[in-house]
């Protein structure tokens, strides 16, 4: 791939990001490639050393703040006509509830996911508390002379303790997984705002 193709490939993967920012990025990569060539490296090799276009696109998108992407997306490409503005204003009883509903849905999905995590941890806490209580009860029963009952409680305590350790591992994995997943969801959301131009 030569320099022009490389820069064009990056540009076509970044539709939706303001032109000014793209130009600045491309100028940076272009300067790098030119400096490599000046250093005696062949053009194709200089491009290859700069990195893969797809990786660069992915990194730019993940660096780019989501709110700026949205702003860029909803900015109309031309000035709105009077009747379009009138329509938007008149239609607000319709789109406002829809917008609120949209936000509410996203919010409730988040709350549900958090609720799952919270309840998992709650189960862990109750298991741990249960095992402690069983140990304490076992000691009391033993002191009072109910050896058999104390042994039974000791067994129950051990069982609960083991179970709570297992549950701790599950909870931690689930929490980590959810956080990683939500990071990926944000990336996917950002990608929605990037227009992929038809590759030539």
């Amino acid at each position: 791939m030569n320099k022009t193709e490389f820069l064009e490939k990056i540009r076509s993967g970044l539709g939706g990001i303001p032109q000014k920012d793209i130009d600045e990025r491309l100028a940076f990569y272009s300067e790098m490639i030119d400096d490599r060539i000046e250093d005696g490296i062949a053009e194709e090799e200089a491009v290859a050393q700069t990195g893969s276009a797809d990786e660069i696109i992915a990194q730019i998108v993940s660096d780019y703040p989501l709110n700026k992407l949205v702003k860029e997306k909803i900015r109309p490409e031309r000035r709105l006509r009077a009747w379009e503005i009138a329509l938007i204003v008149l239609g607000f009883p319709l789109w406002l509830p829809l917008l609120i509903t949209g936000f509410a849905v996203v919010f409730s999905v988040y709350v549900c996911i958090l609720a799952v995590i919270v309840s998992l941890w709650a189960v862990f806490v109750s298991l741990a508390a249960g095992s402690l209580a069983a140990f304490a009860a076992a000691v009391i029963f033993f002191i009072r002379g109910f050896t058999l009952q104390a042994l039974a409680l000791l067994g129950a305590g051990l069982f609960l303790a083991g179970f709570s350790v297992l549950f701790f591992i599950i909870c931690r994995a689930a929490t980590k997984g959810i956080f990683r997943l939500s990071g990926r969801a944000v990336f996917a959301l950002k990608s929605r705002f990037i227009r992929k131009e038809a590759s030539k």
Binding site: R25, E31, D35, G51, Q59
Partner: protein
């Protein structure tokens, strides 16, 4: 390595690369190579961050019939390097404490 720590270290590395006079992107990457491998995209993000925090200034100049951006360290960038030096003394003494313990066994 911890992301926050790594980010701070990369910032300081780039500042150190322009400490003795202004430099440009490719030269920074080349100068840093013995110490750390930096990709273009990473460097771009670091330079942007340092520029917006006022640690360096950028100027565009012509070179061989094309434009090249030159980065110059500012007073606040130099302060940042000094801060790093002082902080690092602390970290080294912590390191010696932590790792010295193992050798004494």
């Amino acid at each position: 390595m911890d992301i926050q720590l790594k980010r701070g270290l990369l910032d300081v590395c780039v500042l150190a690369a322009i400490r003795n006079g202004e430099s440009y992107g490719y030269k920074i990457i080349k100068d840093l190579k013995p110490c750390i491998e930096l990709s273009e995209s990473t460097l771009y993000t670091i330079l942007k961050r340092l520029e917006s925090s006022g640690a360096l200034t950028v100027r565009t100049a012509e070179h061989e019939g094309r434009l090249r951006k030159y980065y110059r360290i500012t007073e606040s960038g130099i302060n940042r390097l000094d801060e790093f030096r002082n902080e690092w003394k602390e970290i080294i003494s912590i390191y010696n404490f932590v790792c010295g313990e193992d050798e004494n066994e």
